[in-house]
């Protein structure tokens, strides 16, 4: 069986796999956004100051 040939199972589970994929992609975007906010906020100010001293 060719690896490129889509099995019926793939077609049947397409919506489920797409949903999981999109959810994971959204999770990555959210974590990235949260990290940017946290790093650029005051939360890490003390640690940076300590390193500088």
């Amino acid at each position: 069986m060719s690896l490129r040939k889509s099995h019926e199972l793939h077609q049947r589970r397409f919506s489920r796999n797409l949903g999981v994929g999109l959810t994971l992609a959204a999770f990555i975007v959210i974590i990235f956004g949260l990290t940017v906010v946290k790093v650029s906020g005051t939360d890490f100010g003390m640690a940076t100051q300590e390193v500088q001293n």
Binding site: M1, H7, E8, L9, R12, R13, S15, R16, L18, G19, V20, I30, G33, L34, V36, V37, K38, G41
Partner: protein, 316 residues
């Protein structure tokens, strides 16, 4: 594995195979919408500005935590759900999702939501979310639901925690105001569910769940609805004079509580014959009003909070 063996192993599951939506349904999206809304009000009513992305993450992870407890509830209650008309089409009783899958999803999302809420906001909020999930799954679902007719009263606390978590996520501390929002949902839950139990009459009987209608009778349930509604009205109107209240909230609370009290009074005066004659018209409209009641009370708290930066919200 050959093509034939793949077909053989998957063929019986084809008709009832779960889609993404079935796993999402395990999270009880309708309950989740209430969690999202009340947690959002708790977060925005707090007197501390929150970065929009942090606020979004807080609400998202509180919602995921609520959804996780919904999945764990469906896992534990699968036997009851198979019997009750209202829940027969849920993913587990309909055969689309295995009980083990629901357990795994619930546990995984519980851990994820607690850790992520702790990281996004503070660990007090994370711990509070963990306690809420524990309370709903262990205290309510596993213990009280099948043992006491006060199941709805105590279990209602789990649904009342989200605005407190939202507030704690914003402030990292606790004051009276979030507990007023907690009390509002806590006192609202019993009349809301008992009205439902009155017109979904055979469901809880068939499942053997000790609802008040089953253990103490329908007359006692009607009286209980009235008592709780009176207490709720006092609390809801009193909240109007607190730090989260104001003229808009008070006006909304006065109108809604007058209507709610009227409905509860009518329910308490009706006999079973009256209700059966009009197919529980009053009980059904009271239940519908209860949905609007909670939404508009929290909506009014939100309006007061949003007006405050313009010097209009609250009493000052």
């Amino acid at each position: 594995m050959t093509d034939a063996s793949i077909n053989a192993s998957t063929a019986p599951a084809q008709a009832d195979e779960a889609g993404f939506g079935d796993y999402f349904a395990l999270l009880k999206p309708r309950v989740m919408s209430l969690v999202v809304f009340t947690a959002l009000v708790g977060l925005l009513a707090a007197p501390v500005p929150v970065h929009p992305i942090v606020g979004f993450c807080a609400i998202l992870f509180i919602a995921i935590g609520g959804g996780a407890s919904g999945a764990l509830n469906m896992w534990w209650d699968a036997d009851i759900d198979r019997v009750m008309k209202r829940t027969k089409r849920r993913p587990i009783p309909s055969g689309k999702v295995d009980e083990g899958e629901a357990l795994a999803l619930g546990l995984a999302l519980s851990g994820l939501s607690v850790i992520m809420l702790g990281l996004a906001t503070n660990w007090f909020a994370g711990a509070f979310l963990a306690f809420t999930i524990f309370f709903y799954v262990v205290v309510y679902t596993m213990w009280l639901k099948r043992t006491t007719p006060q199941n709805i009263v105590i279990g209602g606390a789990a649904g009342a925690f989200p605005p407190v978590i939202g507030w704690v996520a914003a402030t990292g501390s606790m004051t009276l105001e979030p507990w007023l929002m907690f009390a509002l949902t806590f006192m609202w839950t019993p009349p809301h569910f008992w009205a439902l139990a009155l017109f979904m009459r055979s469901d809880y009987d068939d499942a053997g769940v000790p609802m008040l209608t089953v253990t103490h009778g329908r007359r006692a349930t009607r009286t209980h609805i009235l008592i709780y509604t009176v207490l709720l009205a006092v609390l809801a109107i009193g909240t109007g004079f607190s730090g989260i209240g104001g003229p808009v909230y008070l006006a909304v609370a006065l109108v809604l509580n007058a209507l709610f009290l009227r409905g509860a009074w009518q329910i308490s005066r009706r006999t079973e014959a009256d209700s059966e004659a009009d197919n529980f018209k009053v009980e059904r409209s009271f239940f519908k009003l209860s949905l609007l009641y909670l939404f508009l009370h929290f909506g009014a708290i939100l309006v007061e909070a949003l007006l405050k930066p313009y010097g209009l919200g609250g009493w000052s």
